[in-house]
């Protein structure tokens, strides 16, 4: 059902490279269609800052790196009906988390560690199509689901030559897909930017690497131990 009023949307960013917000702009003409359906009331990138109290949808890019950002995230949560974590930094901490992987406690926190997140859009950067789809689904009141397909399965569907068979350390088999296997399709191994797939079997991948004499990185071992969600672990 389409609501009577245009939903009010705010787009915010914490610690990130801003690539995911640029991905929203990269929607191009589809973004202009979204502007007809949604009322963007707060978005620094588009230079919009209206007066408002409540938001229907808050989209937050980036991970929480400081106390100020934690406060900001809580403020946004309080005034918003739905909060979407946009991109890997918000979902898992991504490169910020990799940087302080050895710090205890970690300085970087994924958004879900600080506030309740209603939906996560993974990827480094996000896929603009997925973003579009999620917003339309919210508008239509549909239940949002993440596809459980792996990068590996999508790669097979695209009939690519397998990099793993060539002895290249590809993380496709354990990584959440829905990215159309961009990297392996361009002859580059997947490095897991969309986080772990629902049924990721890391033990099996480590065995597959061993069988092919592929060196096992410390991150993969750490990942297996922590089963920490997401991140560009390699």
């Amino acid at each position: 059902m389409i609501p009577k009023q245009k939903p009010r949307v705010g787009i915010f960013n914490l610690s990130s490279c801003e690539g995911c917000i640029v991905q929203i702009l990269n929607l191009g003409e589809k973004l202009l269609d979204l502007l007809k359906l949604f009322n963007i009331v707060d978005c620094r990138v588009l230079g919009v800052k209206e007066d408002y109290n409540k938001l229907d949808i808050a989209i937050i890019e980036g991970c929480v790196m400081s106390f100020e950002e934690e406060v900001k995230a809580r403020e946004i949560r309080e005034r918003s009906e739905i909060v979407i974590a946009l991109g890997d930094c918000a979902v898992s901490g991504n490169i910020n988390f990799m940087k302080d992987i050895t710090n205890k406690p970690h300085k970087s926190k994924p958004l879900s560690e600080v506030i309740k997140v209603d939906h996560e859009i993974p990827g480094c950067p996000i896929s603009s199509e997925e973003f579009y789809r999620v917003l339309i689904d919210i508008l239509m009141g549909k239940k949002i689901t993440k596809k459980s397909i792996t990068v590996c399965s999508e790669c097979v569907l695209r009939e690519n030559n397998c990099l793993l068979e060539k002895g290249v350390p590809c993380l496709g088999p354990i990584t959440r897909g829905d990215c159309n296997a961009i990297c392996p399709s361009n002859n580059r191994p997947c490095f897991g930017c969309r986080g772990l797939a629902d049924d990721a079997n890391i033990d099996a991948l480590i065995k597959a690497f061993r069988d092919r004499n592929i060196p096992i990185s410390q991150y993969l071992i750490a990942l297996n131990q922590m089963k920490h969600k997401g991140g560009e672990e390699r």
Binding site: S15, C17, G28, G47
Partner: protein, 484 residues
């Protein structure tokens, strides 16, 4: 004495802020622009497989990931001792030209256009793309459509337009096919037309309308040295490859060097009040935050590029370049000319893409050179949208990174930016109140440089969130001003 702080929000590597120091009578004494640096990233790279660097460093910045990808790719070619094949070089240059269009378009149309088309005196609510879309949907639709041509070209070659994956040691990961090249060619033709139209719009309307502002010498004007890449053969414009050329305040060549020699020509000044370094020309020397022939302060970016080159190799862009020089002289010292320079560069990039699609080499399958002896050290230099970018790596026998050094454009523009903001600030708020309008004027000094604050904490695209705190001599907060 009062301390006025203008603080933009934090970024990947930290934050940026402006410190304005005002004396008791309200006169501006000093202005500092501070950005935290990329050192975190350089450390973070150590111990990682060097061939993966081009895919890691893109994460420095989501607005100009291609610049880091290309500079890194070239540095890694050097580490592996592999000269890319001619086809690989052309594919890289083609994608990189598309990126210049993408990034310049993002800056010019999304950021500058609302100001220039709506009016800089309009209220805050009216100076943004969404408002512009309500008022002139057809203009915005056309802009968005054409920018997305560049984005599509990037994705075709890099897999993704943001954080591309194509550069590998000695070439690119995948050849181009005929169907793609034809599509690219069609889009390039449209981009040429579109860029010409906007240059025309600039020359006929915008430049006239803002003539006094653009051509004023008491603000947005610095006489400095300029640094940029030039084509080795004929000193023409080249974003991807060439010699590094430095011209003085009169436009005379003073240095010309290869990427591997950069440390002989660039030194970095450390100031006690900031973590940021201030690169300057080693042979001229650091004379403080001043411009002029005796000061080693230099500028990079679109303005600098069009000052160091002698010509543009494509026909239409060359004509536009001649008209640009006729208006601004050579070298052009007016900071606001950078907007005009961006439009000319977009035209050149569009024409160059078209040229490359017609090159027979572009369809060859020979895209990686596997020969070459592992060197363990490499230098990669490209013209990022915001200016010249240096990547320098060393790696051990296991091909793991032992040292990474990156000098980003915004850091190089740091000293001139401080000087320009100081000059502008003295003129704009001297003794007077700090108003919304005054802040806009200060922001305009920023925008001309398009400082990338994610590549040192990105402030763009969009309005700069500004926080000003005014302290009295005892450090008590007496006033606060905030604009998000």
């Amino acid at each position: 004495m009062k301390l006025v702080k203008i603080e933009p929000i934090s970024r990947l590597e930290g934050e940026g802020r402006i410190l304005i120091i005002v004396d008791d009578s309200g006169k501006v004494k000093d202005v500092y622009f501070e950005i935290l640096e990329l050192k975190g990233f350089e450390k973070f790279c150590i111990g990682r497989p060097v061939e993966e660097m081009p895919r890691i460093v893109t994460r420095i910045c989501g607005v100009c990931p291609w610049a880091h990808h290309m500079a890194s790719g070239k540095a890694v070619d050097g580490v592996f001792g592999r000269e890319p094949t001619p086809t690989a070089k052309k594919i890289r240059e083609l994608a990189y030209c598309a990126h210049q269009i993408d990034s310049h378009a993002l800056h010019f149309y999304f950021l500058a256009a609302p100001d220039l088309l709506v009016s800089p005196n309009a209220s805050k609510a009216e100076r943004n793309v969404i408002y512009l879309f309500k008022k002139h949907p057809e203009i915005v639709r056309e802009i968005v459509k054409h920018r997305n041509y560049a984005v599509k070209i990037e994705s075709m070659i890099g897999g993704k337009s943001i954080h591309p994956v194509c550069c590998v040691p000695g070439g690119v990961s995948k050849p181009l096919d005929k169907e793609k090249v034809e599509k690219i060619s069609e889009m390039a033709k449209e981009l040429v037309k579109f860029s010409e139209k906007w240059i025309d719009n600039w020359e006929r309307n915008i430049f006239d309308k803002y003539h006094d502002l653009i051509m004023s010498r008491d603000k947005y004007y610095l006489e400095t040295y300029y640094m940029g890449l030039v084509n080795r053969r004929d000193n023409s414009l080249n974003f991807y490859d060439g010699d590094i050329r430095v011209v003085d305040t009169k436009g005379r060549e003073v240095h010309r060097f290869k990427p591997s020699e950069y440390l002989n020509y660039i030194s970095e000044r450390v100031e006690p009040w900031t973590y940021t370094k201030f690169p300057y020309l080693k042979k001229i020397g650091w004379k403080g935050f001043v411009d002029g022939q005796d000061s080693g302060v230099y500028r990079v970016g679109p303005l600098a590029r069009l000052n160091v080159i002698e010509k543009i190799s494509t026909e239409k862009a060359q004509q536009a370049y001649e008209r640009y020089l006729a208006a601004g002289g050579k070298p052009v010292h007016f900071s606001m000319f950078a907007h005009w320079a961006r439009l000319i560069e977009m035209l050149y990039a569009s024409e160059r893409i078209l040229e490359l699609t017609q090159d027979e080499d572009i369809l060859s399958d020979d895209v990686i050179n596997f020969d070459g002896e592992y060197v363990g050290e490499g230098f990669g230099v490209v013209e990022a949208p915001r200016g010249i970018l240096y990547h320098h790596y060393q790696a051990d026998e296991n091909k793991l990174v032992t040292m990474a050094n990156m000098i980003v454009p915004t850091t190089q523009n740091n000293a001139p930016l401080c000087i320009d903001i100081k000059k502008s600030t003295i003129n704009i708020i001297n003794g007077g109140e700090i108003t919304e309008a005054a802040l806009n004027r200060i922001e305009m000094a920023f925008r001309a440089y398009d400082p990338c604050l994610a590549c040192s904490a990105h402030s763009l695209p969009g309005r700069l969130p500004i926080k000003i705190e005014i302290y009295d001599a005892n450090g008590h907060l007496i006033n606060e001003f905030r604009r998000d």
